[in-house]
Amino acid sequence: MFKPLSVYFHWPYCKSKCPYCDFFKKVQKNVDETSLVKEYISELEYYQNLVPQRKVQSIFFGGGTPSLMNPKTVEKLIETVFCLWKPQENLEITLEANPNSDRPHLFSDLKNAGVNRLSLGVQALNESDLKFLGRTHTLKEAYKSIDEVLKVFDNHSIDLIYSRPHQKLEDWEKELQQAVSFGFKHLSLYQLTIEEGTVFFNKGVQALEDEKASKMYQTTVDFLREHGYPRYEVSNFAMPVYESIHNKCYWQGDDYIGIGESAHGRLNISEQNFAYVHPHISEKLSSHERAEELLIMGLRLQKGINKTHFKEICGLDFDTFIDQEKLHTLVAEGFLIDKPNVLRATDQGFLVLDKLVLELF
């Protein structure tokens, strides 16, 4: 059987830079799409040579703002992928879009290009916070795009950022209520992180205090659980069956390739692990390094780490790799649940996940 492969396209252009965002992006008009497509395709071919025997399980257009791309370009890239690898049956093709008003047929064009899942970056559901977050769209434009996305696509997701400075729990609860009422199949809700090098960081914007942020997080998780969106990853919630195939590949340790400037990839080739950075610069990862990654990423999933799968990927025995004494303490203190083939975090554990991972080494 062919191993699954996920393909990530990075579109590094935005209309303007949001003050919280540290993704690799540039603000540029008149992007030369034809030459970019050429570059993308030659990258794809490079990887095809490396791992010809795979089945594509997902394609993801991320950014940046890939909704600024010409849908024809999207179509061309999808076609190319299909020429190079066999697609899996229920293949997922996601594109990240920003709300906009200047391109009336955008969403249906994207659908026609082959996109079957749309992730809409709304970020806030009130005018003043949209402004604070430096978004180029208004609340009205957001509503309009939401309507269109829900109409055009069967599988959709909304991105929101919360734990904004001074945000009150009640206000966030109202936004949550509203987000749920739209009927998206999937929600990505991120607590605002002040990333180094961003405008917020340089201005000294402070994240919400831990005490409040942890309360807000738990409220969010509980609320969504009750409303039919169980958490499947730290910041991701979905109706059953609508968990994102593509994003899960990162957390489970499946193979993925990254196309486009600054994009990353991971490939397991004849039991050896490689990390790639565009343009296909590779670094061999030791078993230990890959094991660390699997732990960091795997515990982010509600279902936790599958120990058999872990060994298949990095070659190390999970229970030997982990500091067992620490593990027992953390289990006893209610942060982790350890089953014969699975290790996962409890609700209490999710709040301090980074610390748990550090402890387990």
Binding site: Y8, H10, Y190, Q191, L192, T193, D210, E211, A213, S214, Y217, V234, S235, N247, C249, Y250, Y256, G258, S262, A263, H264, G265, R266, A275, V277, E289, E292, E293, I296, M297, R300, T329, L330, E333, F335, F350, L351, V352, L353, D354, K355, L356, V357, L358, E359, F361
Partner: protein
């Protein structure tokens, strides 16, 4: 051979910053000891730290040739002395090698605490004292007033006082002339058997062990066989010379002179400061009086941050000890901080200087524990012990008496700050012995436990007096004390390196201070951590570090993995440098910060 009458041996004494070193430089310059080009600022302070802190630690000697108005050329041996109380021991040694002192007083400041302390030391050595009013170039100088102070407070005749400016050089020729006129020539017998005082010794990387001597009788010659009278060890002289301040070889040194010798001596520890050196084949009869051995008054433990640097720390201490016999150290093993050394110093400044030299000259990362003084304990079984390490504190029920060292502290301070100074002294368990006036300034004399002084007293004094108070102290014996050992518990476990000894009345506040600091210094853990201070079994202060509330990355996708892993590796490395107490990890920096003296 120099005629004794043409020699003057003198020390320069002064309160810190009154211009002693600058003035010495001017004298050297005027006598042609160094060309202008060779004069780096303050040539006499040779160590970097001395230059930076502007203080002289080791005594330095310079021989000057001075052609006086009477047409004769005199040999002037000038000894610079350390200006700080911690080094009064070194001052005494320099003084013992001279017959007179030049007392430098800043004419804009007047008499200060160390002026007094140094004068008393000089008088104790039967010195003739020549007062010098310095910095007269400054408009704020008031020579008349300062002369009165010198007469009133010290009781010195100022009729032959000299007015100088180290800055412009004004008055320096007159000063040299007065030294010749007013200070006594040394006495001695050139024909008698060699009798020389070993003033100091140090290790020079080119010459090996160098000994500074003052010849009392006889002549010291090259190739001569000499005997150290304290232990009978004999050596053959290699080189003899003087400092001008450059090293200059001589064929011989005769009675009354000061200079150096080398004699293939292996180690500085073979040279006993204050020893008498004589000629092996024609020894003198009686030894010179010598010096009392220096006593350590302040103690602390020093540990390497990285345990692999233990040997390097050991070597560094040994090297420092070569040229500073007053450092004492023994091995110590701490549960919290591993292998290190318990060290004794002449005082707090001495301790700080050594710490600094370990860090800067030897590039070591070190942790030092809270300083302590030496307590005298009598035990119920009749034995006595000296206690300066909290780790050695015996069960109090076996102790019948505890005594702590006391000092007589002299503080001069402008009137407007007197209130706060008196308050500080009282807070520090001081008892007033005297309160008088020196011009418009008050002079307060207190009896205070030394322990109160080593713990940030000087810093506090400076800050409450806006830097105007001057301060000096001398040890005056031990008195009974109510001593306790305060333990610091992290998550219910006592941490030996944080324990300290102090008077019962301060135990609580100092315990609380450390708990408060640790609260901010120890990162949050997954559980809450009590930090407590305890005396015996009784908790006197408590803080709690609450449990970590939230530590999870919101967004972590395919492009973030590499960065996350590298961050984790870095955190892991940081973790390996933490000290583990039960379940709690304490960063090294927490020890350094928590134990830092005084306010942050």
């Amino acid at each position: 051979m120099t005629d004794l009458n043409l020699i003057r041996n003198f020390a320069i004494i002064a309160h810190i910053d009154h211009g002693k070193s600058t003035l010495a430089d001017r004298m050297i310059e005027l006598c042609g000891g160094l060309s202008k080009r060779e004069m780096t600022e303050q040539v006499l302070d040779s160590m970097d730290i001395e230059k930076e802190r502007g203080i002289t630690i080791k005594a330095q000697t310079v021989r000057l040739e001075y052609k006086a108005n009477d047409g004769q050329t005199y040999q002037l041996n000038l000894m610079d002395t350390p200006g700080h109380v911690d080094f009064s021991y070194e001052v005494s040694r320099s003084l013992a090698a001279c017959e007179g002192s030049v007392l430098v007083v800043d004419a804009t400041q007047g008499v200060e605490a160390q002026t007094l302390a140094n004068v008393y030391l000089a008088l104790g050595n039967d010195h003739e004292i020549l007062p010098v009013l310095n910095k007269v170039d400054l408009p704020s100088s008031d020579t008349q007033k300062v002369k009165e102070q010198i007469e009133d407070v010290i009781g010195l005749d100022t009729s032959n006082a000299v007015e100088t400016s180290g800055k412009t050089g004004a008055g320096v020729p007159i000063l040299l002339e007065s030294i010749v006129k007013n200070l006594p020539a040394p006495r001695g017998n050139v024909d008698a058997p060699l009798k020389a005082l070993l003033i100091d010794s140090w290790y020079d990387s080119y010459l090996g062990v160098v000994i500074l001597v003052r010849i009392h009788d006889g002549v010291l010659k090259k190739k001569m066989n000499i005997t150290m009278m304290s232990n009978g060890a004999t050596y053959q002289i290699d080189r003899i010379g003087v400092f001008t301040p450059k090293m200059q070889d001589k064929e011989q040194l005769s009675a009354g002179e000061i200079g150096f010798l080398t004699a293939s001596i292996k180690s500085v520890s073979d040279c006993h400061i204050g020893d008498t050196i004589t000629e092996t084949k024609r020894p003198c009869e009686n030894m010179l009086e010598g010096f009392k051995p220096s006593v350590s008054v302040v103690f602390c433990s020093i540990f390497p941050v990285d345990s692999s640097q233990y040997d390097a720390l050991k070597d560094a201490l040994a090297k420092l000890k070569l040229n500073d016999a007053s450092i004492n150290y023994t091995n110590e093993n701490s549960e919290a901080l591993g292998l290190g050394f318990r060290c004794g110093f002449l005082g707090l400044l001495h301790m700080e200087i050594i710490e600094e030299r370990l860090q800067r000259e030897f590039d070591l990362d070190i942790i030092t524990t809270a300083p302590s003084v030496a307590y005298h304990l009598k035990l119920s079984n009749g034995t006595e012990m000296i206690l300066h390490n909290p780790a050695d504190m015996p069960d109090l029920s076996t102790v019948s008496e505890i005594k702590e060292p006391m000092v007589k502290a002299t503080i001069l301070v402008p009137d407007e700050y007197l209130g706060s100074v008196l308050k500080l002294c009282t807070e520090r368990r001081g008892v007033q012995l005297d309160l008088t006036y020196v011009g418009t300034r008050a002079m307060a004399v207190y009896k205070i436990p030394l322990n109160e002084i080593v713990f940030d007293f000087y810093d506090r004094l400076k800050s409450i007096s806006s830097g105007y108070a001057s301060f000096d102290y001398e040890l005056i014996g031990d008195e009974p004390s109510d001593l306790v050992k305060v333990q610091i518990l992290i998550n219910e476990e006592p941490v030996d390196a944080l324990a300290f000894l102090c008077h019962r009345s301060e135990a609580e506040s100092r315990g609380r201070q450390i708990c408060e600091r640790l609260k901010d210094l120890i990162p949050r853990h997954l559980f809450k951590i009590p930090i407590q201070a305890a005396i015996g079994g009784r908790i006197v202060a408590r803080e709690t570090i609450s449990a970590l509330r939230k530590d999870v990355t919101a967004k972590c996708y395919g492009g973030d993995v590499t960065r996350k892993r590298k961050l984790l590796d870095k955190q892991k490395e940081g973790k390996s440098r933490m000290r583990q107490f039960g379940k709690v990890e304490v960063p090294q920096s927490a020890f350094i910060e928590a134990l830092r003296i005084g306010d942050k």
